[in-house]
């Protein structure tokens, strides 16, 4: 390394030092400490007591942990693909050449900017079993007495999945950008070959937006595994009814802040990290088979 290079390196590091310091103090240090606490009994006030792998062993004996994991997997498995399909459908509709399209796009994006707590309270009213908006409509127009939705163990997770469709605005915007990238010539070629709308979607649009699908899939997975605020607000932090909405992040929160078992909660957090990491790696590895990049 020449003198100039060394000087540049030092200068570069100095200029980046506010970020590096912030990262070390507010990201790396808490991460490292939470890893350490995951091997301890720790309640914030008292000194942590080292207990080795006990927290991790305990997790696999904890029936609530298994329930929370199952609920989260159920939510993720149904919510992520459904949200993807729904946002692609919406993006296709919002990609039409119709007057006032920017207004429609804004309308569909609006739910995304509604504060999460406010939207959760709103959905609570919509999904109230007796006198709620949804069941009221079902009764008035179809003569059906709707289910208990979020209050019924059989319907609570589907209710959350349904609710989650309301906030696909960000994914839709990304899909719109992806759709804009699809070369028009390919549609012209498909037209000449006599392809119908479905044929064009299946053979032109879909393959060419697979990179966008991959991005939204990974982001959706991460968000679904960490789904928390809505369920916290809607169930008063309990995961009711009958633990059917006790999602992983909610159980983690209860463990840490209601019962002050920070060590145990840290172990849960690290396990969640591993699960998300594994799911992401799996998606990335599989993407080689189904994601097509332009020019490849």
């Amino acid at each position: 390394m020449t003198r100039m290079e060394r000087r540049n390196l030092v200068n570069g590091l100095l200029f980046a030092s506010p970020y590096i310091l912030g990262f070390l103090l507010f990201m790396l240090y808490p991460l490292a400490m939470s890893f350490y606490y995951s091997f301890c009994q720790y309640n914030v006030i008292a000194k942590p007591i080292w207990i080795g792998w006990d927290n991790y062993h305990e997790l696999f004996r904890d029936s609530d942990f298994t329930t929370a994991l199952y609920n989260t997997l159920y939510f993720t498995v149904f919510s992520v693909p459904l949200s993807l399909a729904f946002s692609i459908g919406l993006a296709l509709l919002l990609n039409q050449k119709v007057n006032g399209m920017s207004i429609y796009r804004t309308i569909f994006f609006l739910p995304t900017i509604v504060p999460v707590v406010a939207s959760a309270v709103l959905w609570l009213w919509v999904l109230t079993p007796d006198g709620g908006l949804l069941n009221g409509l079902l009764l008035q127009f179809f003569g059906i007495r709707g289910p208990g939705w979020i209050a019924d163990p059989a319907w609570s997770k589907p209710s959350l999945i349904l609710m989650n469709l309301w906030t696909v605005g960000t994914a839709v915007v990304i899909f719109l950008a992806g759709l804009a990238e699809v070369p028009k010539e390919l549609y012209e070629v498909a037209d000449i070959d006599g392809a119908g709308p479905w044929g064009k979607f299946r053979n032109v649009t879909l393959p060419l937006i697979t990179p966008t699908i991959l991005f939204n899939l990974v982001m959706g997975l991460i968000a679904a595994f960490q789904y928390f605020t809505q369920v916290y607000v809607m169930t008063n932090g309990t995961g009711s009814p009958a633990k059917s909405t006790l999602l992983y992040a909610l159980y983690l929160y209860k463990t840490s802040f209601n019962y002050l078992k920070m060590g145990y909660a840290s172990a849960m957090a690290w396990l969640l990290f591993l699960v998300i990491f594994a799911a992401t790696v799996l998606v990335m590895v599989s993407s080689k088979r189904w994601v097509h990049y332009h020019g490849e």
Partner: protein, 470 residues
């Protein structure tokens, strides 16, 4: 270009800029007001008064009531100024403040979390200070109220308010069902009979619920007490409900109010638990749409604060209050589950001044008027924990509020176990009651799970504190 860039990004300039920024930041920090935030607080500082911080767990009218009394204290003082901060009931804020060596000087706490936090060393014991104050003697308090703040041989707080539960009924609903509106049910058998008569069904569902034992929230503790059950052993600090026949009976009774989908002979008052869980009957609790106010529920078990809420949200409601029905053979008892207490967190920088304020708040005023604490109870319609204050005409003389107060004076009262796993116990009671209503567990299993899981948590909490459960 390269030379230009290097010269503009020179180390000397960078260091110079950094030092300048640092000095700037230090200057702003020096200028930043350390203690005073409002003009009143600046004035107090200028007068040389000590500012102490009070963390209030309440918002809304309860906070306003407390604030008005604290203002009175501040006006009367030339030594101390109390700053009130609304903090809510989340305990993690207090924990992080204590861990960060910046706790408030006083905090108001729900008594149900007091033992959990005390075991971790969050509070300063108050028994020695209390000996100095003639108005804070154990004998003056309702016995159960005093116990709410005692744990592990110490007194951790001064109890400010206590609650009790009664049966509230809608007199119009009684009239429509052909029942005497002045005669509420007294026994469990009568409660069931009335619930059946008051439950009105239609093709669209239930128009009016007669009675739902888990409305407006989980009342598992209450029903265990009303059936004559004993949830815990005060000497060991451990739960004993798993084998208590009365507790198991109370759980089975709650279960009988939920429709069994496999049975053809559900009682006429049985309801769908999914449509009747907390907050699911439509309408926010503190609003005109509360299901009891709108007539959606004809009878409900509720606390004395309804004497403030109903005139405010449903002034036209014709309602009555009576003790909660019990099985005929069980001696009269009442439930006084939780309270609110003031505690001095460990590490408080102005503990003496904090105590000075607390002494003022809980003692009668020098001019003979009642204590600010009893005024506070009056303003928010909660029950004063000191018997003498509860006997004041303004509490006992009120035709409705008086019913709540009298039952505390006339009957023994059961309060929630003061154990370090109280929050866990409250959660697991709710959880097991739900499982019971959906027939996932039997009453016996629910009682045993509550006992075993809570006792395991209690033991773990003691172990974590480096102690053995006495």
């Amino acid at each position: 270009m390269d030379t230009e860039l290097n010269s503009s990004l020179s180390l000397k300039r960078y260091v110079g800029f950094s030092i300048l920024s640092l000095l700037g930041a230090l200057f702003v920090a020096w200028l930043w007001p350390r203690e005073a935030k409002t003009p009143e607080e600046r004035q107090a500082l200028a007068e040389g008064r000590v500012i102490i911080t009070y963390w209030d767990r309440h918002t809304g009218h309860e906070y306003e009531a407390r604030k008005s009394l604290i203002d009175e204290f501040n006006r009367s003082q030339n030594r101390i100024y109390v700053r009130t901060v609304v903090i809510g009931s989340r305990i993690e804020k207090l924990l992080t403040a204590i861990a960060g060596a910046a706790p408030p000087d006083i905090c108001s706490m729900g008594t149900s979390v007091l033992a959990q936090l005390a075991l971790q060393g969050c509070f300063t014991p108050l028994e020695d200070r209390m000996k100095e104050c003639p108005y804070l003697e154990e004998k003056d308090f309702f016995p159960h109220a005093w116990k709410m703040v005692c744990f592990d041989g110490h007194v951790w707080g001064i109890i400010t308010t206590i609650d009790t539960t009664c049966l509230l009924w809608n007199k119009n609903a009684f009239r429509k069902a052909g029942l005497d509106p002045e005669k509420p049910p007294k026994t469990i058998a009568e409660l069931e009979e009335y619930a059946a008569k008051l439950t009105i069904r239609s093709a669209a569902g239930i128009e009016q619920y007669g009675f739902v034992p888990w409305q407006p929230w989980d009342q598992t503790f209450l029903w265990g007490v009303m059936f004559g059950g004993k949830w815990w052993d005060e000497n060991t600090g451990l739960l004993t409900c798993g084998s208590d026949p009365a507790i198991i009976r109370s759980l089975a009774w709650q279960q009988s109010f939920s429709i069994d989908p496999r049975s053809n002979s559900n009682p006429p008052y049985a309801v769908d638990p999914a449509r009747t869980s907390q907050g699911r009957l439509g309408g926010a609790y503190q609003s005109a749409n509360n299901p009891f106010y709108t007539g959606k529920v004809a009878m409900i078990t509720e606390g004395e604060w309804q004497c403030t809420f109903i005139p405010k949200y449903a002034p036209d409601l014709d309602w009555g209050v009576a003790p909660v029905p019990q099985p005929e053979e069980v001696p009269p008892i009442c439930n006084s589950q939780d309270g609110v207490a003031d505690a001095i967190p460990s590490g408080s920088r102005h503990a003496d001044e904090a105590w000075e304020f607390l002494k003022w708040f809980y003692s009668p005023r020098p001019d003979g008027r009642p204590s600010p604490a009893s005024d506070y109870c009056m303003l928010i319609h909660n029950i004063p924990p000191r018997k003498e204050e509860a006997l004041q005409e303004r509490f006992i003389g009120d035709p409705k509020f008086g019913v709540f107060v009298r039952q505390l004076l006339e009957r023994p009262a059961a309060s929630f176990p003061t154990i370090p796993a109280a929050q866990f116990l409250s959660d697991i009671m709710d959880e097991q009651r739900e499982q019971l209503l959906y027939r996932v567990v039997t009453p016996e299993q629910a009682a045993q799970t509550i006992e075993q899981a809570t006792n395991a948590e209690t033991r773990a909490a003691w172990k974590l504190a480096g102690r053995i459960n006495p």
